[in-house]
Symmetry: C2
Subunit: 226 residues, 2 copies
């Protein structure tokens, strides 16, 4: 259960102030599958980083599972993230010079899972994403879509209560993309909460509900087109 209450986020580049989010109210219920759509630069990734406790609002409040996130210090935030949130980054954020297998096993290490089990679960997650023959490859030895799928496997391997997916299919062909959305559906069917940013309106159709964002604001009736 995720709640943004009048959340604003202003970036200060030192030369100019950029209001990336303005007065955003958003409630995501437990077990909901929500899609966020909107033009490039409209604030989607900014919103996602706040939802994922990777960034804090400039004003307003983010309440996660009943707890105002502002009350948590950085260590407590990190604990929440590793325990309950799976984050698929728009630009993958894979560990360089680290194999696909080790990349996917890493979040399980933070959860204290023993080495043999986490390598086995990582292997299974990568196989599910069609990368069973790429376990040893490092990011520079993988295609763009393969790197994207490693990021997806890494987020799914912990079976998180909340999955935040920032444009997870942008570098995948339609077949691979459909397989990813099917995995999200299966995760959702177990009761988990999913927030998905996508530019692909077909992918957005998989969600229960769509929220439209433009220039940092959520459209009141959800009818602003991307």
């Amino acid at each position: 259960i995720l709640q943004l209450e009048r959340v604003s986020r202003i970036y200060d580049t030192g030369k100019v102030l950029v209001p990336a989010l303005q007065d955003v109210d958003l409630t995501v219920d437990r077990g909901e599958f929500l899609a966020i759509v909107g033009p490039s630069g409209s604030g989607k990734s900014t919103m996602m980083h706040i939802l994922g406790c990777l960034d804090r609002p400039t004003s307003g409040r983010y309440v996660l599972d009943g707890t105002p996130v502002e009350e948590l210090d950085d260590d407590a935030l990190a604990a929440v993230r590793s325990r309950s949130i799976g984050f698929i980054f728009q630009s993958y954020n894979l560990l360089p010079r680290t194999s696909a297998l080790e990349n996917v096993a890493t979040p399980l290490a933070y959860q204290g899972v023993p080495r043999r089990e986490r390598l086995e679960r990582a292997r299974a997650a990568l196989t599910l994403l069609g990368l069973g023959d790429r376990l040893d490859h490092e990011p520079t030895e993988l295609s763009g879509g393969q790197q994207q799928r490693v990021g997806i496997a890494r987020a799914l391997v912990t079976e998180p209560a909340v999955l935040l997916a920032d444009e997870p299919t942008g570098n995948l062909d339609s077949h691979a993309g459909a397989e990813v959305i099917e995995l999200f559906r299966q995760l959702h069917a177990t009761g988990r909460t999913i927030v998905l940013i996508t530019h692909d309106l077909e992918v957005a159709e998989a969600a229960d509900r769509q929220v439209h964002i433009r220039d940092g604001r959520i459209a009141p009736d959800g009818r602003i087109a991307a």
Copy 2:
């Protein structure tokens, strides 16, 4: 006029050999607009890097405008690239800690264009891509789709004889993506050659011809689906 003759490319990771391209024959005529489609991992970016003189085949020949590229040393290759080829990378490859304006102006510096003119042309290219108010932003201060558009502007600013675009719309909403394809059409209308890798079948429709690749091989009748 680009010709791949029985081109193969094998990657050696030290643990395993990956045959990314196998016996590829491809001819792109001057002024043609060709789309390359195929599953993730099928060899598209590998082919593009060879076409762009950023990589050499393991076997076979690449003939660019009548010249076998194997006869050119690295300096001559770099000269060909800066003079005639515009490359849009799947992962953008922007210069870090460098503004969008400076990123886009850089290829013009390699062509010896005076500073004031190259900043003006860079500004114009970025404005054409909707980034006129983001000129000073560095890559980490831009959204994913904005970074993608900076990469596009950088490839277009030199008005190259050959444009190689590796998945240029993956992080763009449909409106911004359509604007990019329109710019490609305009470039093509002036007689330039365009090779475009895309997972978006609508985007592929903009090309004159489509080539289908799967497991490093080109489909003989172009009918293997992505």
